[in-house]
Amino acid sequence: MKELVVLSGKGGTGKTSIVASFAALAQSKVIADCDVDAADLHLVLSPTVKETSEFWAGKTAAVDRERCTQCRLCQELCRFKAIHDFTVDPLSCEGCGLCYQVCPAEAIRMEDNLAGHWFISETRYGPLVHARLGIAQDNTGRLVAAVRQAALKVAAEHGFNLLLTDGPPGIGCPVISSLAGANLALLVTEPTLSGRHGLERVLGVCRHFGVPALVCINKFDLNEENSCHIEERCYAAGIPVAARIPFDNAVTEALVRGVPVVEYSNGSACRHMAALWGRVRQALG
């Protein structure tokens, strides 16, 4: 089983467009969208949902006003300032349960939290596992883990040996969770100062967790000087730059039409994405 995770650090560099094209090019694989709180891959792959599962994680406190004696102990002890006027704000409550434990009137209950849903779907390109985290929810990393586990199970059922994951932006818990089990991380960057900065940080996460990385510079001709800086930096650190994809309007046009770039045009971005897939497949072994 080989797992490829596509990350970026900074958002908006082109992860999802690239994963969608890989989905069209790769054989015998399961696709996972681990960008669970702003999942977009389904907009290009047009899935038919076959199975929906509820994601329950954590708890939220609730005060029974009839039993509450207004002693204020819960309000004083809550580290997250989630209780005001003897009412719990579910957006601030982190479900620690301290209020429930200390309430002398036993007026607080902890309720299980429906934090989101995840889906096993069919697409033209094979099975897709994706999710929708509820608004303002915590436990993002756990939902990412659930998506990944479900995708591995689907892969085993189909006899597939490749998991292709569209990762989230940033470096926090959803990114860390998506890297668990990854054989290779493809880091998509852009030649802007923000892109370079984001690349450094997400490279740091990959190093921290021992995941080898390849870099792709997307829209490289936007600023060739920055692109050269990125290449020099990667070369000095022994990280292969697997592609430099030029800016191509076809990428946005394909997105608007809801199809992968490699199916929409055979222009420059398309050819570079296909070549990138070849290199990635080789690196995966």
Partner: protein, 282 residues
Amino acid sequence: MIVSVASGKGGTGKTLVATSLALSLEDQGVQLLDCDVEEPDCHLLLRPTITENEAACVPVPAIDEARCTFCGRCSEVCAYHALAVLPQKVVVFPELCHGCGACAHLCPEKAISEVSREIGAVEVGHCGEIEFVQGILNVGEAMATPLIRAVKARAKKGGTVIIDVAPGTACPVVESLKGSDFCLLVTEPTPFGLYDLALAVETARRLYLPCGVVINRDAPGYSGTEDYCRREHIPILLKIPLDQHIAVLYSRGIALAQGMPEWRGRFLSILQDIRSLVGLRT
């Protein structure tokens, strides 16, 4: 007035808008808080002089094993599985700890104290007259929320505060948005942009925040975003065109309001519109 700049989708131009808003107000007194603590990048456009760097810490349990009877109560009450009690040892998993204090408070032997664990830093400085604060989460740290709280604790009352928010809709975004007067949502006119915009609007509405939209990289060909805003009665406060010159300036780390000063007036107008919209609601 506190204006949060958010998006849902990453890469739409939040930082471009947040820094340009701050620059447009620089002679009127403004503070910019970069709450995208996983990937703070306002500093790349503003190049502030940093005058203070303070470690941001969270409390984690420390067990006094001389007092501990290994009763297991701490592990039982911990909602995050951050403590495991073995026959003669208690193991703490600090990266799972949310710092709620339940274990320390409830230990029957008073054998748990709390020590500080560093998760990142808060930096304070200025860029000209703009007051600047950013949070930088340490690489390998999972939780952004406590650091975002530490950044927001530096917000000054009375003036205008612009907050650059992380992408998405999860709890770091909610923590950043809480307490704002207005949520300015930056989007791009594509199906990805629209889908995530709708999620971001839902998040802002959950917090009872009035919203407005900035469409960045605007070009003809997709009307979904404008149709959505019209249906939902969300004002479109600015459109920034798809323009290679703007993209190149950004790639060089030059803020729009600096590289093309004619835009300052337009960003000032957004703020005036926001003031009216906030005023109408209160």
